[in-house]
């Protein structure tokens, strides 16, 4: 079924009888060519591009709960490609370009809104670093603009530039960055994949891998054994748990990242503002909620919830730059499990086990990566070779000393 304004009007006039499920609820088949573990954004995108771009057949996505229930359903919806390093920037720029055509591509309005993202600058050293980054972005074909405080003030007149503990000396803007309705990304990919024959199987938990002679033959699940020629894992914060079933230890820790939304408010925030020095970033959803967050809590956790010190820290950062937000109310706080890698960058690679492939280590940057991650993982699963924009995302980069460390924090995941 194709969605359109015309279809909406037609159905409204016909009593909405014609709407059908956005995806089927199939029984698992005994064998697939490709099984993707994880019905989150990345897993669903992988299945979508496998079917659509790489013309693969007999694909299943296995999800232990409900699709879109992981980080794609609990993030702060920001997309951007403002990366510094050559290992990252082409990949994220590829992702941003996929975002730009995504809605028409998968026929679902994910409310992709390029309202711009701004990183505030407070010191000369920060300006130097952001200049280098902005130049790297432009040299990689992305957009970047250095804004003056006056230019920023024009867009955010309520920004505290007068009484700021850390003076605002400008900001690096990426106008093509923005926000997306996060749940709709999962649903759009799911619907697009399903309509191309992908079996999306919810409530199907993978309990083990069947590995013989160094080759993965399929997965044991809560709904029985499912054979597969290739198995791709895309389970983000659960990566270590899943891959331990294949006796793998990963360069990764799972951490909780909290996020927050305010009550609905009439529009105040035109774009995304990031106050790195104060651990705070914020945008406003189409519904009117201020969507904001900050740092991870900083300790290993699978609890999907955090604690007050970080809540307060984030709000302090918010009040430092937007003192008018004091009378807005936080409506809800929640937490997701971040697959914090050892250098802050992801892995899209084959494992040492034949037929077993891995996608993870997204830290808290996974949402914006969703389209490219899916595309590149599909490329890897199809061709057994990395996509050109993802060729640095290898397992062996740690052993070889080829880390992609944007923040320069070294092998300590909670600092990335």
């Amino acid at each position: 079924m194709r969605y359109s304004g015309f279809k909406v009007i037609k159905e409204a006039l016909m009593g909405h009888k014609g709407w059908t499920p956005a995806w089927r609820d199939p029984e698992p088949q005994p064998h697939y060519d490709i099984v993707i573990i994880g019905g989150g954004g990345h897993g669903l995108a992988t299945a979508y591009y496998l079917a659509k771009e790489f013309k693969q057949k007999r694909i299943a996505v296995l999800e232990k709960g409900w699709i879109g229930g992981g980080n794609v359903g609990r993030n702060t919806t920001i997309i951007r490609s403002n990366y510094l390093l050559d290992g990252n920037e082409p990949f994220y720029e590829f992702s941003l370009k996929l975002w730009e055509g995504l809605e028409q591509d998968f026929n679902y309005n994910a409310m992709i809104s390029q309202r711009g993202i701004l990183n505030l600058i407070h010191t000369d050293a920060q300006r130097d670093a952001f200049t280098r980054r902005g130049n790297a972005m432009i040299l990689n074909g992305a957009d970047a603009e250095m804004l003056t405080t006056a230019q920023i003030k024009k867009r955010y007149p309520f920004l505290n530039t007068e009484d700021s503990r850390f003076p605002i000396k400008g900001g690096l803007a990426q106008h093509r960055g923005g926000t997306v309705r996060h749940d709709a990304v999962a649903w759009g990919y799911a619907r697009g994949a399903d309509s191309r024959g992908v079996d999306i199987i919810q409530n199907c938990e993978v309990t083990g891998f069947k590995i013989e002679n160094g080759k993965c033959l399929g997965v044991e699940t809560s709904r029985g054994f499912i054979g597969a020629t290739k198995v791709g894992c895309a389970v983000a914060g659960s990566s270590s748990r899943l891959m331990s079933k294949a006796n793998m230890r990963l360069p990764m820790e799972s951490h909780v990242l909290q996020a927050f939304v305010s009550e609905g408010l009439k529009p105040v925030m035109p774009g995304v503002v990031t106050f790195g020095a104060g651990h705070f970033y914020c945008s406003q959803s189409d519904k009117g909620g201020l969507v904001f967050g900050g740092d991870i809590d900083g300790y290993n956790s699978y609890a999907q919830r955090g604690n007050l010190p970080v809540v307060e820290d984030v709000c302090e950062g918010g009040m430092a730059i937007f003192p008018a937000f004091g009378r807005a109310r936080m409506l809800r706080m929640w937490g997701g499990i971040m697959d914090m890698s050892m250098d802050g960058s992801p892995i899209i690679d084959r494992t040492h086990i034949d037929g077993l492939y891995f996608n993870g280590g997204w830290c808290y940057g996974g949402f914006k990566a969703t389209p490219a991650s899916g595309f590149c993982f599909a490329h890897l699963l199809t061709h057994d070779a990395p996509h050109p924009t993802a060729k640095a995302y290898r397992f062996n980069r740690f052993e070889k000393g080829l880390v992609i460390d944007e923040k320069g924090m070294g092998n300590q995941p909670n600092l990335h």
Binding site: S4, G5, V8, A12, H16, W19, P21, A22, D25, W66, G73, D86, P90, Y108, A110, M111, S113, H122, T123, A125, T131, R132, N135, A136, L139, N140, G141, F158, N160, R165, F166, A184, E263, G264, K266, V268, D286, G288, A303, N307, L308, V311, C315, G317, G318, M319, A320, A324, G326, R327, A328, R329, L331, R332, W334, K400, G401, D405, G410, N411
Partner: protein, 983 residues
């Protein structure tokens, strides 16, 4: 028309009239009213508009679960959007206005949406607005954004202050209804440290809203007497107007106390609100229950309320929701409302009960049937009833009380991911699974719905907690009171209804839930996210159960099989201001001031933030119009004669013990074991991954005593790392560490006359000639007649230079002394800018070069990494990726045309060829204007840089539309042989 619906009695004070304004119109209420009760007393039913369809909305509840009656409270900078009229404690001079409307509340132009509701069903926006692609951001989205949202922020700075505090107790009791009061009284009399918190300004919970007696007292009077006793106990803290927002790990609860929200402005010196972190050993959750509505066609009109809310308005606030009221119920509790209203002389149109065996009444009509529709554009006028026999009946009424049963308030029991369990007798979820550790639930929150049950449950919960804590529980005598069992027939929605509201704020109807099911959004989380059910400001407190029940029916499952969405903090929306407290403006982060700060201020220094430190950036002099003039002068004067700079902010760590040298050998990649006493050595510290972590110096003051310095930014992380190495890796090394950054004031004295100046400060027995105290010397000395000091002959500027440290308390005196004795040399204070210029001129790496991704090789210090010992990072620094051919090397950069700038952050490109990432050769890390050379200079990293000196390249900074030609040179622009240092 003044308070037409006001009754007698209640817990309001008719002798204390309060004037207030709503939408510009003046009204009078009474002390003890909420804004909602005062408006109802004045006959105002229409208070707002819904989110999507802009349907007229009145008050639904009498508590914090209110989804409808949201207003913008106050004006100007104190304007608070989305404030629930049901929780606003009325004060004299209150002003509020309705929100989310275009035009007057009665004639909201956006109500047109309601006409198109058939097109605006659940998730319609995911299916359209995609063509043409450019229209989403330019046309559709701006329209949607402006129609969406609820109230507005003033966008003025919040003028109020917020405080934070910490409280500790044995027992936290959440909720001061019958269960909470019984628990607090039991624990309080037994001597436990108790905190009793309730979100309401009047404690007592449902006891204030009911008419039944406790012993020989009214419920409200009994509550008053208990609260008075609790308040008199020194071990009990009674906290009204305090919402527990969340149950966090290990017995930590967040609480927001509203100190001033019931005042027109906070009293002088008082905060608006306080965020308390309560550390408690045990918790009794006595948060009561929340009544739920029933879905039927057009069940959202102003005047349609929860039956219990109508009862609260009548009994507590002495307000009749209308003069003619009907009830629609599936349980006995709905009948209570009718009885109470009847007793107050209010006309009961009828009680409509879905149960054939409903209780009868002599006083009013009880109908077996269902309300199937209602009438009244801006407020209810009629309820259409379908009787059990199929006949229709129109009930004239201005208010309709609906009771679908009660949901125990399990919210806080689920904050640590516990899930509630289903109770058939109550047709509701009750606390279950794993509760937050230390929490016990009592009263209606635990499914004990009678008052007697709540009292008993509260007392028992407290007794068990006391026993747990090893305290002897004193039994309290509980008064006799009602103990009616729950009689309910589960009934969620009227058959055949379609536009029957579940979530009244977000306009989610039964029809939307059906569509959600039809389209495959069947998981409870998909239902929520697709329809937005329960995502409004009340977080589904009154709406979720109905949606779950309908989804269960459609899916052929039981309600517990469908399950609930996750309850998340905060319990009710919490102002961002209180979560931030006083950490805003200049108080956002603490300021660290250097020992010379006061003196530097007197000199008119310009300061710069360096982490939390404020450092003098430069010292402008009269006549200087640009910062560059000042900085150039400071640099030239230092290199010509002598300059002084406060370098206290550099981290300092004292390392002492027999194994001190062995320890330094571990933390630095270069060797330290053989460093002589009285000598200082540059040290490069690697992370375990082989990347440069920090650099500094280590001075050996004695065989077993070193002083290590770190960069300003890394003072804390390096100290932490050193303690890790000491405690976790080499626990038996005889070595002790202490951070002395704040203990010593330290000044750099640099320039050819630095020794001559210093000679005037050091005590006569200290010999500082070049021979006696050569480059890299260090010593404990005395200055100014006996003051202990540490002297290091180290140089960041490249000049003959010293750093001298004295106990911090003498830092101010020392800078003044240096300036005094230095007059004859024209000693010049210099700030961080001049410091930066001189270190770039000298080619010293700093933060911009030690950026966490650079190796010793990158920095040109590859040979420093000792191969003969194991130090942190030495092994992994050998990895191929860190030693690749074509690696970056630090170089100097100067413009071919001396007038050109070389901006930091620019990238290096070959002189010819394409300009893109694939041809990137490196980047500029630090840049400045060198007053000594008369042109810009820079440091940078260049591929194979060490072999490319003399090469002409381009630097490009497309971000600033800038490009120019540069020459790669040695990073040592000044005195490359180091002669000045050793002079």
């Amino acid at each position: 028309m003044s308070q037409v619906n006001r009754l007698n009695g209640g817990q309001v004070n008719a002798d204390q009239p309060l004037k207030f304004k709503f939408d510009g119109k003046s009204f009078t209420g009474q002390q003890g009213d909420t804004l909602a009760s005062a408006l109802l007393a004045n006959g105002v039913r229409l208070m707002g508009r819904s989110f999507k369809y802009h349907r007229p909305r009145g008050v639904l509840t009498a508590g914090s679960e209110e989804p409808n009656a949201l207003v913008e409270l106050r004006t100007g900078a104190r304007q608070e959007p989305n404030t629930r009229a049901t929780t606003i404690e009325l004060f004299d001079g209150l002003t509020a206005k309705s929100q989310n409307r275009l035009g007057p509340l009665q004639f909201d132009l956006l109500a047109i949406n309601d006409r198109f509701s058939n097109f605006l069903t659940a998730g319609f926006y995911y299916k359209t607005f995609m063509w043409p692609a450019a229209f989403w951001e330019k046309i559709y989205e701006p329209i949607i954004r402006h129609a969406a949202g609820l109230g507005s922020l003033s966008l003025q700075e919040d003028p109020d202050v917020y405080d934070k505090g910490f409280l500790h107790c044995d027992l936290l009791v959440i909720g001061a209804g019958p269960a909470g009061l019984a628990a607090a009284l039991t624990a309080g009399r037994s001597g436990a440290q108790v905190i009793l918190a309730d979100e309401d300004f009047r404690m007592g919970g449902r006891l204030n809203s009911e008419t039944f007696v406790l012993g020989d007292q009214s419920g409200a009077d009994w509550a008053d007497s208990v609260i008075a006793e609790l308040a008199s106990l020194s071990n009990v803290r009674v906290m009204p107007r305090t919402t527990i927002i969340g149950a966090f790990d290990h017995g930590i609860y967040g609480a927001v106390e509203r100190i001033s929200d019931h005042k027109i402005v906070p009293d002088a010196g008082k905060p608006r609100q306080i965020l308390w972190r309560i550390y408690t050993k045990r918790t009794v959750l006595a948060a009561g229950a929340i009544e739920r509505p029933i879905a039927f066609e057009n069940n959202d009109r102003p005047g349609i309320m929860l039956a219990s809310a109508i009862r609260t308005y009548a009994n507590r606030f002495a307000v009749a929701a209308d003069q003619r009221i009907a009830i629609f119920t599936n349980n006995d509790d709905g009948h209570r409302t009718a009885q109470d209203l009847h007793a107050k002389g209010i006309k009961i149109s009828a009680v409509v009960d879905v149960r054939p065996d409903a209780p009868r009444s002599m006083d009013y009509e009880v109908l077996n049937g269902e309300v199937v529709d209602t009438k009244g554009r801006l407020g209810l006028t009629f309820a259409e009833v379908r009787l059990a026999d199929g006949t229709m009946r129109a009930l004239e009424c201005g208010a309709l009380g609906v009771s679908g049963g009660w949901n125990p308030n399990v919210h806080m029991t689920c904050h640590q991911r516990g899930r509630p369990t289903w109770n058939d007798a109550l047709a509701a979820f009750v606390p279950g699974g794993v509760l937050p550790p230390g929490m016990t639930v009592a009263g209606a929150a635990n499914g004990d719905m009678s008052t007697a049950g709540a009292l008993k449950g509260g007392a028992a919960a407290a007794s068990s907690v006391l026993k747990d804590l090893g305290l002897t529980a004193k039994t309290i005598k509980l008064p006799q009171t009602e103990d009616t069992p729950v009689a309910i027939k589960p009934f969620w929605y009227v058959e055949g209804c379609s536009r029957a509201w579940l979530d009244q704020q977000n306009d989610v109807t039964v029809k939307d839930v059906k569509l959600s099911h039809q389209e495959g959004f069947r998981s409870v989380e998909h239902l929520k996210r697709y329809t937005t059910l329960g995502m409004a400001t009340d977080q589904g407190k009154t709406s979720n159960m109905g949606g779950l029940a309908i989804m269960a029916e459609l899916a052929g499952k039981t309600i517990p099989e469908v399950g609930t969405t996750i309850f998340r903090p905060p319990y009710t929306p919490t102002s961002i201001g209180v979560l931030a407290g006083r950490h805003r403006g200049q108080e956002f982060h603490p300021k660290r001031l250097t020992p010379s700060h006061k003196w530097a201020q007197e000199q008119g220094a310009v300061f710069v933030e360096v982490g939390n430190w404020l450092r003098a950036q430069w010292f402008p002099r009269a006549g200087e119009t640009t910062w560059r003039e000042s900085v150039d002068r400071e640099v030239l004067a230092t290199r010509k004669s002598v300059g002084v700079c406060d370098v206290t902010t550099l981290g300092k760590v004292d390392v002492q013990g027999a194994d001190a040298a062995a320890f330094l050998n571990k933390i630095y990649c270069n060797a330290f074991a053989k460093l002589e006493v009285g000598k200082t050595r540059y040290g490069l510290m690697l992370r375990e991954d082989g990347i440069a972590k920090d650099d500094g110096t280590a001075a050996r003051l004695a065989e077993d005593h070193f002083v290590v310095t770190t960069t300003t930014a890394n003072a804390l992380p390096v100290y932490r790392h050193m303690e890790f190495v000491r405690q976790c890796l080499f626990p038996d090394m005889d070595v002790q560490l202490i951070s002395t950054t704040e203990a010593w004031a330290q000044y750099a004295i640099a320039g050819p006359n630095s020794r001559a100046l210093l000679q005037k400060i050091v005590d006569p027995d200290t010999e500082i000639s070049n021979e006696a105290f050569p480059f890299m010397g260090c010593a404990n000395i005395t200055v100014c007649g006996g003051l202990r000091a540490r002297l290091f002959r180290i140089s960041f500027s490249g000049e003959l230079a010293y750093e001298i440290a004295v106990p911090t308390a003498y830092g101010d005196a020392l800078i003044r002394k240096i300036m005094e004795v230095g007059t004859e040399f024209d000693v010049t204070p210099y700030g961080t800018e001049a410091l930066g210029v001189m270190r770039i001129e000298k080619g010293h790496a700093a933060g911009n070069e030690l950026n966490g991704t650079t190796t010793a090789q990158n920095l040109g210090m590859g040979r420093m990494v000792s191969k003969t010992k194991d130090s942190i990072g030495s092994k992994l620094s050998e990895r191929e990726g860190l030693n690749a051919a074509g690696d970056l090397r630090q170089v100097g950069i100067k413009p071919v045309n001396p007038a050109d700038a070389v901006p930091a952050g620019a990238h290096l490109m070959n002189a010819d060829g394409p300009v893109d990432a694939a041809h990137d050769q490196g980047y500029v890390t630090s840049a400045c204007f060198s007053p000594n050379l008369g042109h810009a200079i820079a440091l940078g990293f260049l591929k194979n840089g060490d072999t490319r000196l003399g090469e002409v390249m381009r630097i490009v900074s497309p971000l600033n539309d800038y490009a120019t030609t540069v020459e790669i040179v040695s990073a040592h622009f000044i005195d490359p042989q180091g002669e000045r240092l050793r002079a």
